[in-house]
């Protein structure tokens, strides 16, 4: 017990001391930069959480590493943009993004993955093939241009905050939205019947099937929700930044790193991982811009070296 305590203490000091020293220096040097970078990190984490939670949900239940998750993100974003452009309603765009990706996800599960249950590797290969094909189809349809959404003015201005002065309202909305979604997801998984089935399936698929539940239906619902989350994040994230070819890879990678760090199959893990990666990326960009992205992978390597299953991961 005391040995474990000691180890925790040592690790806290080894990791915490340099971070604390950096924070003190950075705050003294330029408080505005430090706090706005911190806010940027947290809001980026909100976006990463939205994407990664769908990915981790699907993996947790079905052991399906869906490497087409990024493609669903981009597809949702493009379709959402078309709808938003046609109807001039950003909310409809968000809904369209969610629905499109959810329907595609549902189709994939019902038409393909249902027949490959248990063949982890083959499923993953299929998702790679789907992502190559989808990426090229989307390039065909929407070209190499960059698209931007036109959200309501109320959420797209700048709000005054202490220290950081002006801060994009939309990013605050994004953060609030992600927290709401996180709570909703928690409620869905813990308080509803389907959610309980999903959790039961994550813990023991065979037992769930044996207790008379229609496992295939639970799988299909989960896949649709997970994919829908990607499409939803596509519109929400595309509004914060923009959409263009290549974003599919970027967000697939973000989801991968987030769940590797946080722990596969755990929603809480996705939140923790997203926070770590979002902060690492933004602080990297602000203080050492040329190595911003490499920084996040250093975090990943360190976590893998000491906790192969991620921070909150547990044996499957």
């Amino acid at each position: 017990m005391s040995a474990r305590h000691l180890r925790t203490w040592i690790w806290s000091i080894v990791i915490g001391a340099p971070l604390a020293a950096f924070s003190i220096w950075a705050i003294a040097d330029n408080p505005r930069q430090f706090f706005s970078t911190f806010l940027n990190g947290v809001t980026l984490a909100a976006l990463y959480f939205l994407v990664a939670s769908g990915f981790t949900l699907v993996f947790g239940l079905m052991r399906n590493v869906n490497l087409a998750h990024g493609s669903l993100y981009l597809l949702g974003a493009y379709v959402g943009w078309e709808v938003g452009d046609a109807t001039d309603s950003w909310l409809l765009a968000v809904a369209a993004g969610f629905l499109t990706a959810a329907l595609v996800g549902l189709f994939l599960q019902v038409a393909i993955f249902r027949f490959m249950q248990g063949q982890d590797l083959r499923q993953t290969m299929v998702t790679i093939g789907i992502s190559i094909v989808l990426a090229d189809l989307m390039l065909w349809q929407w070209g190499g241009l960059i698209y931007q959404f036109d959200p309501p003015r109320i959420i797209f201005g700048s709000i005054p905050l202490p220290i950081v002065k002006g801060y994009p309202t939309y990013r605050i909305v994004l953060l609030a939205g992600a927290i709401v979604i996180g709570v909703l997801l928690w409620w869905f998984l813990n308080k509803t019947r389907v959610g309980m089935m999903i959790r039961a399936g994550v813990d023991d698929r065979a037992m769930l099937a044996a207790s008379g539940v229609n496992v295939q239906r639970v799988f299909a619902i989960t896949f649709a929700i997970g994919a829908g989350m990607a499409g939803f994040a596509g519109v929400v994230g595309g509004t914060a930044l923009s959409i263009s070819p290549g974003e599919d890879i970027r967000y697939l990678l973000a989801s991968l790193v987030v769940v590797i760090v946080g722990g596969m199959g755990s929603i809480t893990g996705a939140a923790v991982g997203a926070l770590l990666i979002g902060l690492a990326e933004q602080f990297g960009l602000a203080y050492e811009p040329t190595y911003g992205i490499v920084f996040t992978f250093v975090v990943m390597t360190l976590v893998l070296a000491f906790r192969p299953r991620g921070i909150l991961g547990r044996p499957a």
Partner: protein
């Protein structure tokens, strides 16, 4: 067709391949390989560059030096490996006599290096604009008739100073092309008393600039934004949301027509943005107007007016064909006479005179423009100044330029 049979024969047996690959080609037609980026996110630019090449050939009636010209097209995905592989296929398998291409900077360097292994073929650059292609270890059979990335920004520094921008903050993507562009801007900007307070080199493909924006100091006069395509708009939107209000100075591809016509509604903040380049959409010369009219007539599916890529490939192809005219299609003797003719070539392109220096790099005009709104509400780049005869040493003497070196993260520097 011939390649298809090659493909089949390889599958069946290797013996036929030798016959098939070694078919002698008649000298009545001259084969020209055209390489551009037709895959991946840059495909739109690659397709327009092919339009430029096709247009030049069409206006030349498909002939040059009394011989029929045949184009054989190749594609890359903007990576040097693929560019060289496609070039090698065109040269060694399709046996082209002349190569035109590639599209992007690092591809250009790789193809230039390959050109050294094929001394009997002449290579004409398509649109790639890396300085190192012609300044570092140039190849005797590699020609670039247009100017490159650094030359495209010459004169913008003085223009910025004349607008009263004495201290600027720079945001640019972290690779070769922006390095060149920034050098072209800073060479004269620094010399004439301007200060680039801080440079933020952001990783290629960055979309979230919020943390970079938080590092912008308060006491600057303007931002220099050398970002590709609509990334600049993206940056500007985020900058405004964070409460920023400084004016912007753009690079060559920062406020080009794809940006001015991009998908989305937030463009007002671009008005008045100065930038520079080897051409301008609304150039008021008969040559340019004819070029745009020809382009529009030939390609119903093209852009509203030719893009930078179409223009550069057009000039490159025009030079290739005019050189053939000059030697009456005679490519004998390892193409030596043809190369001499190219070296001496001077002609009027759509946007000014085209000629090359002793490193076989273009000397040409650079246009300083500002974003303006026309009577119908459309945005366009209005020409405010023309700098003639821009050399690859950016108007500096050779010694001065060598002392400065090629553009990089830290060159030039004047905080």
């Amino acid at each position: 067709m011939r390649s298809r049979s090659c493909l089949l024969s390889t599958l069946m047996g290797t013996a036929i391949v030798a016959l098939c690959a070694g078919v002698a080609h008649a000298q009545e037609t001259i084969k020209i390989g055209v390489l551009a980026t037709l895959e991946g996110p840059f495909a739109a630019g690659g397709q327009d560059s092919m339009r430029g090449a096709d247009l030049a050939l069409k206006l030349h009636n498909g002939m040059a030096g009394g011989k029929k010209i045949e184009f054989i097209k190749g594609s890359s995905d903007a990576s040097p490996d693929k560019a060289v592989a496609a070039t090698r296929k065109l040269v060694e398998q399709d046996k082209v006599d002349i190569m035109i291409g590639p599209l992007s900077g690092d591809e250009g360097i790789a193809v230039k290096n390959y050109s050294k292994t094929q001394p009997n073929i002449t290579f004409v650059n398509g649109s790639s604009g890396a300085q190192a292609t012609t300044l570092v270890d140039p190849s005797p059979n590699f020609f670039r008739f247009h100017t490159e990335g650094a030359q495209w920004m010459v004169g913008l520094g003085e223009h910025a100073l004349s607008k009263g921008y004495k201290k600027v903050f720079l945001v640019a993507e972290d690779y070769g092309f922006p390095y060149s562009q920034v050098q072209g801007f800073m060479a004269s900007y620094c010399k004439n008393g301007g200060h680039v307070v801080k440079k933020a080199w952001v990783p290629l493909g960055t979309k979230d600039y919020s943390s970079v924006i938080s590092t912008i100091p308060g006491d600057i006069d303007a931002l220099v934004v050398v970002l590709g395509g609509a990334d600049a708009v993206n940056f500007l939107t985020q900058y405004e949301q964070a409460g920023g209000d400084k004016p912007m100075i753009g690079g060559t591809i920062t406020v080009d027509q794809t940006v001015l016509h991009f998908k989305g509604k937030r463009r007002e903040s671009l008005l008045g943005t100065p930038s520079a380049g080897p051409m301008a959409d609304q150039l008021d010369t008969p040559e340019w107007k004819k070029f745009v009219a020809d382009y529009k007539a030939a390609f119903k599916d093209g852009f509203p007016s030719p893009s930078l890529f179409a223009y550069l490939y057009y000039v490159s192809t025009q030079a290739t064909l005019l050189g053939l005219d000059a030697v009456k299609g005679d490519l004998s003797g390892g193409q030596k006479t043809y190369r001499d003719a190219l070296q001496k070539l001077v002609f009027a392109g759509p946007a000014g005179e085209v000629k090359i220096d002793e490193n076989r790099n273009g000397i040409g005009d650079t246009y300083i423009t500002e974003v303006a709104k026309d009577s119908t509400g459309d945005y366009y780049n209005k020409v405010v100044k023309v700098v003639h005869n821009v050399t690859e040493t950016l108007g500096l003497s050779k010694e001065e330029f060598q002392k400065m070196g090629l553009g990089s993260r830290d060159v030039p520097n004047c905080p």
